[in-house]
């Protein structure tokens, strides 16, 4: 393949698949944060009894 084609292959793959990977990491981090928040909230609850 020509060098130009290789460069655009690299650019295309990094933007699309790299972008997708970053989005998944962000979604995962957000879900971990939500879980930790929920756990913290549960721990601080005072039992009515």
């Amino acid at each position: 393949m020509s060098s130009g084609a290789w460069i655009m292959l690299f650019v295309g793959a990094s933007v699309l698949y790299g972008g997708l990977a970053i989005v998944f990491v962000k979604i995962f981090q957000a879900s971990e944060r939500k879980k930790a928040h929920a756990h913290h909230h549960k721990k601080n609850q005072v039992s009515p009894s």
């Binding site: 084609a5 655009m8 292959l9 997708l20 989005v23 979604i27 879900s31």
Partner: protein
């Protein structure tokens, strides 16, 4: 509390959205667009279009559905009283599109049948136009129904009915198979493609960049058009699908995943298509530019020709033909039933009948409307209707949505809604895209299309055919959208 059907999980919703967005266009349109618009250089305007129009509009559609918990028409009417006609217009355009899209699926069924014997070997073009479609000499000569095409159409509508009549449970299960499967099959075709002699020449044609095209405004408009058509925007599908998610659902993360996966599959499909075209060019002793093509020609003539010339005997050819056409069926059926699902969701808001009954009548109507495209002049009508439904239908819905949110509704309030439960927060860039970039690009694009239609008759078809299948059809759908919205509101009041 409202008893609304729900997706079984976030993954099911995202899968269904990807299934709707990824369709035949990813295989037969995107690769050729890249090749025809400066090769790899096209990716630059394409990515900019993805970020400035595709993803922002997708977020609008997801948020409208999630926020309003209604089908496209009622949801838009709740955003702004009277705006429901946009939703009805979108659903009517969807109905027209699925009525011919289902006929294309029927051609694929026919090709699956012919794949067992690779019946087109040696005469792919004549086989498709003469044998499969039995195309008449002119658009005026309808020439009766082509029965094998009708049989495929019937099969398609029966399948669509059984996928959606029970609701989201079945749709969720179906997409968990039909979305990953084509990707796996494309991977098999990719391995075969890049190991063929001449593949590299094809890939050079696909990606070798010509950066001078970046100064050409038409290339930028082509990139925006490709993004718009590819993401199932302006059909009401994304609003309908999102309306089955709970109110506190993520919007931006799902939009990013859907849009990037859709573009990722397009980019990937380009390697399959152009490696195979490179081989075909080498086998025929012609340059790639001579064999490259898009649309119906690529799927039913060029690619089958390449398959029939692969190394190996008929069995190998039959296996790869089956892989290719099964891929197409999977890609197309997800998009087709998503359009029908949007219509059913919209109708469920105004009709008290059961989901099964509404689905049945919508499918029956779609089958009946598709009959015109099953005739011997069906290909001509399909070409005209497809051109107008896309260039003056869905894109106008997209424009109206952007104007509604950017200029009539408060875009900052809407952005705050998107960010409320989203994993990825969107900044002010989103407002700029919706308020300025998207409307300016769409208005320019529609004006250019309008100008080119006035300059010369589309495809060299007679004026009466272009008027009926093009302008008149779009006008009727628009007026019908307004009438249905008024009647639906009265019905709701009653």
């Amino acid at each position: 509390m409202e008893d609304r059907d729900r997706w079984s999980s976030r993954a099911a919703f995202v899968m269904a959205s990807i299934g709707s967005a990824v369709g035949l266009g990813n295989v037969w349109r995107f690769p050729y667009m890249v090749y025809d618009n400066g090769g790899g250089a096209f990716l630059i305007p394409y990515f900019i279009a993805l970020m400035t129009t595709g993803i922002p509009l997708l977020m609008i559609e997801f948020n409208i559905g999630i926020k309003m918990q209604k089908g496209p028409a009622f949801a838009l009417d709740k955003i702004r009283r009277g705006a429901g006609f946009i939703g009805w217009f979108a659903l009517l355009v969807s109905f027209v599109i699925v009525s011919y899209y289902s006929v294309v699926i029927s051609w694929v069924w026919n090709y699956i049948y012919y794949s067992f014997t690779v019946a087109w070997t040696g005469h792919a073009k004549e086989f498709f136009f003469g044998h499969v479609l039995d195309v008449s000499g002119s658009i005026a000569n309808t020439g009766g129904i082509v029965w094998p095409v009708f049989a495929g159409l019937l099969l398609t509508w029966v399948l669509i009915y059984f996928i959606i009549f029970k609701g989201l449970g079945v749709i969720g299960k179906v997409v968990s198979w039909t979305v990953p499967l084509p990707f796996i099959l494309l991977f098999v075709l990719l391995i075969r493609g890049i190991t063929l002699k001449g593949a590299v020449t094809g890939l050079n044609f696909y990606l070798d960049p010509d950066f001078s095209v970046l100064l050409n405004p038409r290339v930028w408009l082509a990139a925006y058009g490709q993004i718009f058509f590819s993401l199932s925007l302006g059909f009401g599908v994304m609003i309908a699908y999102a309306s089955y998610m709970a109110r506190h659902s993520d919007i931006s993360g799902n939009a990013f995943v859907t849009a990037l996966t859709n573009s990722g599959i397009s980019f990937f499909a380009g390697f399959v298509v152009f490696s195979t075209l490179g081989y075909l060019a080498q086998a025929l002793g012609q340059p790639v530019s001579e064999v490259a093509g898009s649309g119906v020609g690529l799927a039913f003539v060029i690619f089958p020709t390449a398959i029939s010339r692969l190394p190996g005997g008929t069995v190998i050819h039959a296996i790869f033909a089956l892989i290719f056409f099964v891929t197409l069926i999977n890609l197309a059926i997800n998009s087709a039933f998503s359009l029908v699902e949007a219509i059913v969701t919209g109708l469920k808001d105004i009709v008290s009948a059961k989901r099964e009954t509404i689905t049945f009548y919508v499918c029956l109507a779609g089958l009946t409307a598709g009959l015109i495209f099953c005739t011997r002049s069906g290909l001509y009508w399909l070409d005209i209707v497809d051109h107008w439904a896309n260039n003056f239908g869905a894109i106008i819905v997209g424009l109206m949505e952007a104007v509604l949110i950017g200029w009539i509704y408060n875009p900052e309030e809407f952005r705050a809604d998107i960010n409320k439960y989203s994993d990825i927060h969107v900044g002010r860039w989103w407002t700029v895209c919706i308020k300025w970039i998207t409307p300016i690009i769409i208005i320019t694009s529609v004006n250019l299309s309008f100008y080119s239609e006035l300059k010369s008759s589309y495809g060299g078809y007679p004026q009466w055919a272009v008027m009926t299948g093009g302008w008149l059809l779009i006008e009727i759908l628009f007026i019908l959208g307004i009438i249905i919205n008024l009647r639906a509101r009265n019905r709701r009041k009653a």
